[in-house]
């Protein structure tokens, strides 16, 4: 298992506009590292640069203790899973799995043994004689995975491997990949645009936008302490509500909502800010007259999911969401009172978009420690 170090990586296609600039990260050995961002943010390019399929225009890549950015893909000692699987259509499943071993001149007996073991691990034993076109999408995905694992390469790169599967299978494969990674102790660098995959699979996440690193951290760090409004809206579903706000007279003013009073001693230097509020922090108020910081909202849409209800409304000219657990008898057009607690609000400086204050994380209130859970 090897560490992968990215040092000031830079990439441009036309010589002037950077696709990636100054990307720094250290991916620890045995870590599941997720690159996430909207399409066109450069995450796939970054992965392909690590693989050696795309040349770097600046910076350094170190794999293990070896400087790798000038090496051929095959010399970097890694395996890769492609979005469309890239299975060899003329080879059987078994031959597809051991193809790389063949090239690396692994002896025949060992090839057979490793191929069998890997196929067994992924439940492909019954399909070894089939051709890829005779397999379903999920089975093809497994073959692609098996091909990457059988290599026993210390680093495995995955480029949106689950995006061609249906939702149910995707959830299943998510867990399976994670389990295999844990069992084999692989270093995985995983590219996805799906924030659910990023949150559920990653030991650490790197959020990219327009070729610039936005934030690197564990899933909960990124969720609880987003570094800027982009990360805040990108991670979480429905996304964090963001609006321009003004701080005046010790109160936070957001258009369309009542003023939110700042607590004593919670003064903020800036006046112009972006305020971010997670949908679960928009709370229903029973007694709008007595509660401070409450306001009336008009419901535009309701999604009842059974265990929770998502309301959409407009505030400060944008679509906002409120997520309440349970089934709420609310209809579009209803006007209902809500309130926001200042403790739940994340504030970002309007000019620099840097974080000023984090919102309190949803379950901090419960204050249940891990020790208590384990009892």
């Amino acid at each position: 298992m090897k560490q992968v170090k990215l040092d000031g990586l830079y990439k441009t296609y036309d010589g002037t506009t950077p696709v990636l600039s100054n990307v720094n990260a250290t991916i620890e050995a045995g870590e599941f590292f997720v690159l996430v961002g909207p399409s066109g943010c450069g995450k796939s390019t970054l992965l392909r640069m690590i693989a050696g399929l795309e040349e770097t225009n600046g910076g350094a890549i170190t794999i293990g203790n070896k400087r790798a950015d000038q090496l051929m893909p095959s010399e970097r000692d890694l395996s890769m899973v492609f979005q469309n699987y890239a299975l060899y259509p003329h080879l059987t499943v078994f031959d597809n799995i051991v193809f790389g071993l063949h090239v690396k001149k692994v002896p025949k007996e060992e090839r057979k043994r490793r191929g069998r073991e890997t196929a067994e691990m992924l439940g492909l034993t019954d399909y070894l004689k089939r051709k890829p076109r005779q397999l379903s999408g999920g089975q093809r995905q497994r073959v692609a995975l098996a091909r990457a694992i059988v290599d026993e390469s210390p680093v495995c790169l995955m480029d949106e491997p689950l995006s061609n599967l249906d939702a149910k299978l995707r959830a299943h494969m998510r867990a399976e990949i994670k389990q295999i990674q844990r069992r084999l102790g692989l270093t995985i660098i995983y590219v996805t645009h799906d924030q659910v995959e990023a949150m559920t699979m990653g030991d650490r996440i790197m959020v990219l936008n327009k070729g610039v690193t936005q934030q690197i951290g564990t899933p909960l760090e990124i969720y609880n302490q987003p570094a800027n409004p982009f990360v805040a809206t990108f991670i979480g579903s429905p996304p964090m509500n963001i609006a321009e706000g003004e701080i005046k007279d010790h109160k936070l003013f957001i258009e369309g909502l009542g003023p939110i009073p700042l607590p004593n001693g919670g003064a903020i230097d800036q006046t112009h800010v972006y305020a971010g509020i997670r949908p679960e922090a928009v709370r229903f108020v029973h007694d709008p007259v007595r509660e401070k910081g409450s306001g009336l909202i008009e419901v535009k849409n309701v999604e009842v999911l059974g265990n929770e209800t998502v309301l959409m409304f407009t505030a400060a000219g944008r679509d906002w969401y409120a997520r309440w657990s349970g089934q709420w008898p609310v209809k579009p057009g209803d006007r209902i009172p809500v309130m926001i607690d200042y403790a739940d609000v994340a504030l970002f400086d309007k000019a620099s978009e840097k974080s000023i204050k984090h919102g309190q994380s949803p379950d901090v209130a419960a204050e249940i420690s891990r020790e208590e859970v384990l009892l």
Partner: protein, 270 residues
């Protein structure tokens, strides 16, 4: 109404297939007739005697001509497959400046008729001393713009990830070519192979030009020789020769028909 329409359609189809197939069937029939029957304009032979076939083999070294044709056609087929596939591979998988311009130049040679380049080709062959040799009959046909075009179109459908996956696996470019690209493009290769074989088998003018004795002559020339050998042509023998010449190509066509159809319609749909 629908029944009537169908009947008309079938009658038309049968008629046109008779018209289309008549020459071939008639040739087969004539090959069994003796000279008198042919001249009297009979359609069916009185008896199916194999005399004409015997005579055809006796009058000319037909077997050695067949062998020559087979060797030449097979050699051209192999040569075309090797050269075209390598050229197509370069045009698809190797990036270089002016690749498209070069390809269009390459393709534009399809517009130059073969007859126009015949004299310079002949002079070249003569200078090389390849008259009356297999080389003279095969080498000029190895580079084929159509073949390169056909294979390039197929190679272009191979996903880029396949190339990248084999790069990561550690395949060299040439290994990628023969371990992945060629097996994946089997249908197009078969198509091109059959096409090359048949065209070469049916070639007449060029073999006539670059051969002047029997050592490497092909069957097409043999047929012409049969016609002109005697003052009055024995059509029965000629037709017997024709049938013999046609049989190998028919076998090839039936054998490869499925692949051929697959190959020629590929890319048309999609």
């Amino acid at each position: 109404m629908r029944m009537r329409k169908r009947i008309t359609l079938y009658i038309l189809l049968i008629l046109s297939s008779i018209i289309l197939f008549f020459p071939t069937v008639y040739a087969l029939m004539v090959s069994f007739m003796n000279g008198r029957e042919v001249l009297s304009g009979a359609v069916l032979p009185s008896s199916f005697s194999l005399d004409n076939y015997k005579k055809a083999f006796e009058s000319l070294p037909l077997l050695s001509y067949l062998w020559n044709s087979l060797v030449i056609s097979a050699a051209v087929m192999a040569g075309q497959l090797i050269v075209s596939s390598l050229a197509a591979f370069a045009f698809v998988f190797i990036k270089f400046k002016g690749r498209n311009a070069l390809f269009f130049l390459f393709i534009s040679t399809m517009m130059v008729p073969w007859e126009a380049t015949m004299i310079p080709n002949f002079v070249t062959i003569q200078e090389l001393g390849w008259i009356n040799s297999y080389f003279g009959l095969t080498v000029p046909f190895f580079a084929l713009a159509f073949g390169t075009f056909l294979l390039r179109q197929h190679f272009k459908t191979i996903p880029k990830e396949l190339e990248e996956a084999s790069q990561v696996a550690g395949l060299s470019r040439f290994q990628f070519f023969y371990k992945v690209v060629l097996p994946v493009s089997k249908t197009s290769l078969v198509t091109l192979g059959i096409y090359g074989f048949l065209t070469t088998w049916n070639m007449y003018l060029w073999p006539l030009l670059v051969t002047n004795d029997e050592t490497v002559r092909t069957v097409q020339i043999a047929l012409k020789q049969m016609q002109t050998k005697e003052v009055s042509t024995d059509w029965g023998v000629v037709m017997a020769g024709v049938i013999i010449v046609v049989i190998p190509t028919l076998l090839l066509l039936f054998g490869g028909q499925k692949q051929l159809q697959k190959g020629l319609t590929q890319g048309a749909l999609k």
